[in-house]
């Protein structure tokens, strides 16, 4: 009976996932990165709601006036652009992920229409990981940077990582587990090597006995 080579879709969780690659953890950037977009949007919406609620108290010109028509049309187009831009940014926030698997770390920078970037680094190439958490705000809300030192390449900085302590420990744990697994065949090899060595000694002994 032929073995089914193609895995079921349940085992593939992201595009580009390899065979036998298991997702250990994934995270998105900290919510702090949304504040520069969120605050102006909330302010504008609050102003708009207050204006609409108290529209009766304003003495507005007739909509037949061309200048007022232009003003209303511009305000509507501007508001539509603002709403779409804000929600696209929000959705983009959710589409930008960092995935830790048993083989590699993958950073997916994707947006709905414009970007589709992926950057991954194999665990074996990671030499060291540094956790950086500078500043009072970053310490208070639990956000930091993970600097991944890669052999023969520039360091890779994962910015705005939530709970950097946890992810730092997790990455180190995965690396340790992988390196322990990698040492397993080496041990076997050394055993095999010692067997070969004993065999060679026995042959030498026999050769000496024959000479005697």
């Amino acid at each position: 009976m032929k073995e089914k080579k193609i895995k079921s879709s349940d085992e593939f969780h992201f595009r580009g996932q390899m065979q036998d690659e298991k997702v250990i953890e994934f995270f998105r950037r900290h919510w702090l990165v949304l504040l520069p977009d969120l605050l102006p949007f909330l302010l504008y919406m609050t102003g708009l709601i207050v204006f609409v609620a108290s529209i009766g108290s304003f003495r507005l010109p007739s909509l037949d006036e061309p200048f007022f028509q232009l003003l209303v049309a511009l305000a509507l187009i501007g508001t539509a652009l603002l709403i779409h831009r804000f929600f696209l940014k929000m959705i983009e926030y959710f589409m930008r992920t960092v995935i830790i698997t048993n083989f590699r770390v993958v950073e997916v920078k994707k947006s709905l229409f414009l970007h589709d970037d992926k950057h991954s680094i194999v665990m074996k190439r990671i030499q060291d990981i540094q956790k950086q958490q500078k500043g009072l705000v970053k310490s208070l809300v639990g956000v930091g940077e993970l600097v991944v030192i890669i052999s023969f390449s520039d360091p890779w900085v994962l910015r705005n990582v939530p709970s950097p302590d946890y992810h730092y420990r997790l990455l180190n744990q995965v690396r340790t587990t992988l390196s322990e697994r990698d040492h397993q065949p080496l041990n076997n090899f050394s055993n095999e090597f010692s067997d070969v060595k004993n065999g060679m000694t026995n042959i030498n002994r026999k050769a000496v006995e024959v000479e005697d």
Binding site: F27, L63, V72, A73, A80, L88, M90, I91, L112
Partner: protein
């Protein structure tokens, strides 16, 4: 008056079509990415991407209806 109404209707149509396209793109993305959400992936620990998309749809519909009602109100002045 015709140019004004034409601009308003075009704006809303483009807005709704753009939202529909965004929704389709998001659903296609969701189909390909099935990683189970956890506390570190959700916004503030409980907001899922589906929630944001639902708010987006609601917001755009509310904006479309609300702005039309506002224009009808202004034209009645």
């Amino acid at each position: 008056m015709n140019l004004f109404w034409g601009t308003i209707i075009t704006t809303h149509m483009v807005s709704l079509i753009f939202m529909g396209l965004s929704l389709l793109r998001y659903l296609a993305y969701k189909k390909r990415n099935t990683i189970i959400e956890n506390g570190y992936s959700m916004l503030l620990g409980f907001i899922r991407p589906d929630h944001v998309v639902m708010i987006y749809v609601g917001f755009v519909l509310l904006y479309t209806v609300g702005s039309m009602m506002l224009i009808f109100y202004l034209s009645s002045l």
